[in-house]
């Protein structure tokens, strides 16, 4: 083989691998990417039953119900809409009513969101980012949720005036 042929073999091989990789990426992008929605976006967009997506919002206080054998149901709200969610399994440590939550799953025929994962990876000051952004967009949050108020922050005008 001449130097040129060798080089062509090499380049051809690389291109083949890259093409395979590109095909894999595009294929995976089509099937395995999940979009993020809030309950009001679900209401607007009429997501069809069975399509997987991530649902984010606040757990409606008082909506958590535990059934038999680790079945749980609760509602996720974003201020303008709520969506019932059912889940079977152990809820993460930081799951609490009134707190942000992200669940992954799909709607069933009756319009209930069947979650197979409830995400746990946020701590007490860290709001799941998708939830915080979505709520901010709707004007339910003025300040950045994750920001700790500094020790010397001035009392708000609505504060301390009563009693």
């Amino acid at each position: 083989m001449t130097r040129k042929q060798r080089r062509l073999t090499m380049i051809g091989g690389s291109l083949a691998v890259l093409a395979v990789a590109a095909a894999l990426v595009l294929n995976a992008m089509r099937d395995s990417i999940v979009f993020f929605s809030t309950p009001s976006m679900v209401a607007e967009k009429h997501i069809s039953a069975g399509k997987r997506f991530r649902l984010g919002g606040l757990v409606q206080p008082g909506s958590l119900q535990r059934g038999d054998n680790l079945a749980v149901s609760f509602s996720v709200a974003d201020g303008s809409a709520t969506l019932p969610v059912s889940y079977k399994g152990i809820l993460p440590d930081l799951f609490r009513e009134g707190q942000g939550v992200v669940a992954e799953g799909a709607l069933d025929a009756s319009g209930t969101f069947r979650a197979d994962t409830v995400l746990a990876k946020h701590d007490e000051t860290y709001m799941p980012k998708d939830v915080a952004d979505a709520l901010k967009k709707q004007g339910h949050w003025k300040d950045d949720y994750g920001k700790k108020p500094s020790a010397s922050a001035a009392p708000q005008p609505t504060q301390g005036a009563m009693r």
Binding site: L58, P61, G62, A77, G79, G98, T125, H140, W141, K142, D143, Y145, K148, P149, S150, A151, S152, A153, A154, P155, Q156, P157, T158, Q159, G160, A161, M162, R163
Partner: protein
């Protein structure tokens, strides 16, 4: 004094690190070279052949290749002209002697706080006593509660203090614990709601709202819960609901309740029949006036406030009241110019400026 001595010592050490090599006589080719590597590779091939690890034919081919590299490396010797460039060296020495301390001191003086000594905790426990600040008292109570989390009374004491200090997240936690260990009450629930609203920057979030609703469920007349539920309605844009909640609250309130003016001011904000910051007599007078007269009276008061602030601009609360009044009157231009005036008036005081911006933010005008 010791500090400056230490700084000087460190600076001298740093300068020395630069000057030391400059002062040394140049040893030509004190570094390694490619040739050493290739010689070693040749030796390695000999070793491998001896250990029977590679075939003699392969070894020969490799030797030829490495020898070629070795020759090239010897030909193409690095640093062919080793010379000493006195001017450059002098420049480097000067940059070390002058540039280095100047850069270091300039940076340090703008960032550091040389006047502050150390404050290790161990050294401070003794001096703190009579002069303890509120912050340190809070810290002590917190430490106590960290050890005895079930002490309900402690939480009761701590929670309002934290709320007043603006540490709302911690106040929320404290109120929750207080409810857990002291039992539920409308008052505690509405305090918790207030702290939650504070943590959200004055916005009554759905979480806070839930607490006020629980408080109402426990005691329908709880004034704070009613007030905040009205506020929640106002923030959601339901002004009529807010007004009716507040009107109901005022109707049931005792005449001397200290929070009456606040609720009345709030009512005005949503278009109710009261006027902000008016003494009762003026309010009574205003009630009898027709709309034009009432407008004139309000404007008169606002103008007086504006004049006062022009003479003495240090009153942050006053500025905020003025801006709010202009906004209530729908005069956004004047509100904007009042904001500018206010900023100028307090510009030379960082603390006041911060308070002002904070307040403006709560009015919905971005600081």
């Amino acid at each position: 004094m010791t500090l400056w001595f230490v700084f000087a010592l460190m600076t001298v050490a740093a300068i020395f690190a630069v000057l030391w090599p400059l002062s040394r006589r140049a040893r030509p080719q004190s570094g390694g070279s490619e040739a050493a590597v290739y010689k070693d590779q040749l030796a390695e091939i000999d070793r491998d052949v001896a250990a029977d690890l590679i075939a003699p034919s392969e070894a020969d081919a490799a030797r030829v290749e490495i020898s070629r590299r070795l020759l090239a490396a010897v030909d193409d010797q690095r640093d062919p002209t080793v010379q000493s460039n006195v001017r450059l060296r002098r420049l480097a020495a000067v940059s070390a002697l002058i540039g280095l301390p100047v850069v270091a001191v300039a940076f340090y003086l703008s960032l550091g706080s040389p006047q502050l000594g150390d404050f290790p905790l161990a050294g401070r426990a003794r001096v703190a006593d009579a002069t303890q600040s509120l912050g340190s008292l809070v810290a002590q109570v917190e430490a106590h509660l960290e050890q005895n989390p079930t002490d309900g009374r402690g939480w009761n004491v701590l929670a309002p203090v934290l709320a007043r200090l603006g540490r709302f997240d911690e106040a929320v936690r404290a109120y929750r614990n207080s409810i857990t260990y002291n039992g539920d009450s409308a008052e505690r629930r509405s305090d918790l709601g207030e702290a939650l609203a504070g943590a959200a920057g004055g916005v009554v979030t759905s979480e806070a709202k839930a607490e006020f609703e629980r408080a109402i469920a426990l005691s329908a007349d709880d004034p704070k819960a009613n007030y905040f539920l009205g506020l929640a309605a106002e923030q959601d844009g339901r002004n009529a609901d807010a007004a009716s909640i507040w009107r109901g609250l005022l109707a049931k309130a005792p005449a001397d309740a200290p929070w009456r003016p606040l609720v009345q001011a709030a009512l005005v904000r949503v278009g109710g029949p009261a006027v902000p910051a008016l003494p009762d007599s003026a309010m009574a007078a205003a009630k009898d006036m027709n709309d034009t007269d009432r407008g004139a009276m309000i404007r008169g008061m606002v103008d007086r406030l504006a004049t006062r602030l022009k003479q003495n601009g240090n009153d942050v609360e006053g500025w905020l009241r003025l801006v709010r009044a202009y906004m209530v009157m729908g005069d956004r231009d004047k509100a904007a110019s009042a904001v500018t005036d206010a900023r100028q008036a307090v510009a030379n005081n960082a603390e006041r400026l911060r308070q002002l911006n904070e307040g403006l933010k709560n009015l919905g005008l971005d600081g």
